[in-house]
Subunit: 327 residues, 4 copies
Amino acid sequence: MSSSKSLRAGIVGFRGYSGNELIHILHRHRFVTGVPLEHRSDSSSASPLSGQTVKDQDLAVVFLATPPEASMELTADFLAAGAKVVDLSGAFRLRTPENYARWYKEPHTAAALLAEAAYGLPEFYRNTIQNARLVSNPGCYPTAANLAIRPLINAGAVNLQAGIICDAKSGVSGAGRKPSMKTSFCEVTENFSAYSLLDHRHVPEVLQNSNLEESQFSFSAQLIPIDRGILETIYFRTPTLDFNTDRIYQIYQDAYANERFVRIHSPGKVPDLHSVRRTNYCDIGFSQQPDGRTVVVSAIDNLVKGAAGQAVQNMNLILGFPEVEGL
Amino acid sequence: MSSSKSLRAGIVGFRGYSGNELIHILHRHRFVTGVPLEHRSDSSSASPLSGQTVKDQDLAVVFLATPPEASMELTADFLAAGAKVVDLSGAFRLRTPENYARWYKEPHTAAALLAEAAYGLPEFYRNTIQNARLVSNPGCYPTAANLAIRPLINAGAVNLQAGIICDAKSGVSGAGRKPSMKTSFCEVTENFSAYSLLDHRHVPEVLQNSNLEESQFSFSAQLIPIDRGILETIYFRTPTLDFNTDRIYQIYQDAYANERFVRIHSPGKVPDLHSVRRTNYCDIGFSQQPDGRTVVVSAIDNLVKGAAGQAVQNMNLILGFPEVEGL
Amino acid sequence: MSSSKSLRAGIVGFRGYSGNELIHILHRHRFVTGVPLEHRSDSSSASPLSGQTVKDQDLAVVFLATPPEASMELTADFLAAGAKVVDLSGAFRLRTPENYARWYKEPHTAAALLAEAAYGLPEFYRNTIQNARLVSNPGCYPTAANLAIRPLINAGAVNLQAGIICDAKSGVSGAGRKPSMKTSFCEVTENFSAYSLLDHRHVPEVLQNSNLEESQFSFSAQLIPIDRGILETIYFRTPTLDFNTDRIYQIYQDAYANERFVRIHSPGKVPDLHSVRRTNYCDIGFSQQPDGRTVVVSAIDNLVKGAAGQAVQNMNLILGFPEVEGL
Amino acid sequence: MSSSKSLRAGIVGFRGYSGNELIHILHRHRFVTGVPLEHRSDSSSASPLSGQTVKDQDLAVVFLATPPEASMELTADFLAAGAKVVDLSGAFRLRTPENYARWYKEPHTAAALLAEAAYGLPEFYRNTIQNARLVSNPGCYPTAANLAIRPLINAGAVNLQAGIICDAKSGVSGAGRKPSMKTSFCEVTENFSAYSLLDHRHVPEVLQNSNLEESQFSFSAQLIPIDRGILETIYFRTPTLDFNTDRIYQIYQDAYANERFVRIHSPGKVPDLHSVRRTNYCDIGFSQQPDGRTVVVSAIDNLVKGAAGQAVQNMNLILGFPEVEGL
């Protein structure tokens, strides 16, 4: 496959931080060319996007770096016109319209597509993604959380009655590019603030993919005065002292030995945000006390593994390219 | 008492961030004048400090903004010479030399003074402080933590079997003024890092003053790329659903109704670091889910309520000045 | 004069950064109480401000921390109702409506007041200010520039043919509080940008008060990723080698020996922004080469000496309080 | 040429910011592999580097990201052993040992090599570099300055009697990785400071390569609270009004039409640091007043075009690879 035969990937919402990162990543991709698509929410003069756009532009895949309302509006047409869709919004991440309505505070307007949407966390759902037309790219916080906790839960290493605490921190780009008081420089610099305590809309994505009940998972989101990066500090207790440091480490090794984008630190070492900045890695480390109390630190770049990078990883899977291409 | 009759307060370690803040605060104090005292660790040419310094300089009180080794070395002489001492180090915070040796990794060299050291958290120990010669000023992290959790624990509002998680974040001045790779600009900016997971030396101060067992309190410290401020996100479960939002709020109201330096946010609202920057306030807010999961946010300025401000508050108590003077 | 007889000072535009700083400063003022006045641009439900407001609220003075259009609209009424006015906008800083129209790109709608407006730089115009009803508070950049260069120009120390270069840098609060892409965190952090090259609207304030022709003064404004502070690096050549370091230093000493808010660094030393942060000082230092090339660094806090602090200094002058009160 | 036949490039000083950036860039290079070389200043246990190292390690080229003393000590041996040398220090940038001694305050200990050292600014000296054994990689500030002013000076567009003012600002990585008070987070954040007024050691590099007398070029260096990036604001007057905006623009176009790493903004537009962050570009823009006063803004990433990127660009030239490879 040569670059003279590049496939074309449309990008709706290319002016936002995730969309811009997509353009940046695809610029390095040997087999796919990014095509910015002007959406009417970007400009009053743009004509509406539709299935015809896919045909006119000869698009193999479309990335939707849009709010969920726009994704629900556009996806069916793009699919019908023969394109694959990787949606970066929350529109297709939850499995039922009821659950969507509860957490997103609005009705789901494309519920017929929920059943076929593959949840785009390749480390867990690679086979499903490869065969999907529609991939729902995970939220930034759930990516870091699920990669850190699901192997432990599956292995029975977590005392679920005591529950899991996930204290999450994000750089400001996670709030999007639209100017607001909350993201203005003078409000953010030399500050640190919590903005979603126990009821963030990303919570159900973690419950659903790590098999947790709501009462077993406490999550808060906070704003760091930096532009990009997510670090989650995750606390739990082991059910027995058998789940010691060696065993926890082995669980992670077994889960991710063949994964290119998950790196496990040696016991007692944890990543910081510089470790993952501008990369598609999720870095995970942990430390444990002899009484079984354990803390895991999981770090990603919210715009890469937490958005555009993972979206390209998913695109590589559905189009049959090497999973690391461009990343 | 007029300013022409100011008392004199020595400051050892005045070049560090806490010592510098002490000078700054005392500059505004109507009744006390700060006197920087050159310690030999500051300068090879300085003569050693001793009880004679107290007499020569006519000091009513001495602040020790020093490492614990220096505090252990100097305190007895200063007390013997008739000065009160407010020690900002960890030297006299724990009750036994064994506990000190465990957490500070060195033997205690002034154990005879431990019994008389008052723990300088005025909101809990005001009467003891007023009558003390030696006040041990609390650590920055324990100040924010104890003020947030002790009233709840005393009221039985915390399920101690599930335990308390305290995820703490601090500005860089908390690491002291001595240059190091860890606090150099390029390593800190656009970063966020955890530096003490479950075994920070401030932990026993919380256990001791909030009546907790070690296994009941999980604490991690992290570095925010800002100069000052501590924010702690504290998670727990209530033992029964009776401890609902109204009741938690009432517990805080009862505990701090008469306190000038603790402010309780209305339920569902939490402070950020701008709320407390350059003030002696500890701001506390919380949010609760119907199933009893509760998150408390406690914020202070680590150099003020977490160090120099609280030290002056303590000085005001032992010298009989209005507690808010200078603050 | 006791605090029980405080005078009342209205503050229009109290939600902006300068207005908020005014509230903060007046909170410490022993003789004046700040009264926030809701303006219709702040809230659609507010009734219009007028001379009646002055009477209803018993205001001795009104601060206008508003855009120039609002200042031009409100000032005459407030004056007519008997209040003094300190205007922080650019409305009354230039001497002619033509000059205003040129630099502010809109007609002046209160030109009758220009003649009586005192330019509120106390170090140069103290007597005039004391007798004024209307004080036009200087721009932030011109405050730092005029204090640095006017004494030198008056003394003949500057080769005006070679001209003066003023390379100015400001923290982000100088751009106001309204959210915009330009001041959003992710655009500012880890960045540095020039936003007005040779044609900033503050230029004529410098020309007018330092007796310069336009071609003699080159000024550019740039954005530092910090919240507050202005630092100007000013380059010129001396007309002869007689204006050596000692003489330049003497000129500054003579100009500011009795000024409380201007501090001259010893030759070769220059201030940084930490020197003046949250103070009403203008700090000035300089360095010179043997061939007469000279660089001056002038630093202020843009919200204090560059706005609210200087406004209170002016208020103190017109109301007869000690000039430093509250500052 | 296949990657299985990669040439090997030694990197001395690989732990510093420039050395680390070299490793990062060479990681992407198709034809050259970076080889970190432990120098005795890095580790007491390292054996001394010498010509034998070149042979043992089969090095085609060695990068010296070292202080000038180490570069003067090591270069001759490496050259004698057959390696090319790209030196990132100031050791070989000035043409005479006397000039070096004046600006670097120490004697030159390898003066015999000065004559053959090529100054590694490819946009001006490409042919010389291609034939050199030893390339002296330019200083970060002179790179941005010379690229901005030399074409103008050569074209006669600058009034040299009035002189050129270059107000330079740099991110903190420019000060190196060794911890110091000057670069510690709390001293830098929310600050802006000048640290070298009119006498920076990079000045003679500009004089020498842009044919200026010392009195014609005034340069100051300042510290921005960001990690990387240099922005220089450069002021001059044209000798006649013939050198208007169109003509200045044409001069730049003519100079850089075929250069891959210099981008000229359209008249009136200037770059910021985000424009060049993590790239090897030098971006240049300018704005002019009708009276001939002109301001140029030149921006680079100090670790890329200002150090490691340009070093690799030079390496590509001397080894015969495409100039953009790896960049």
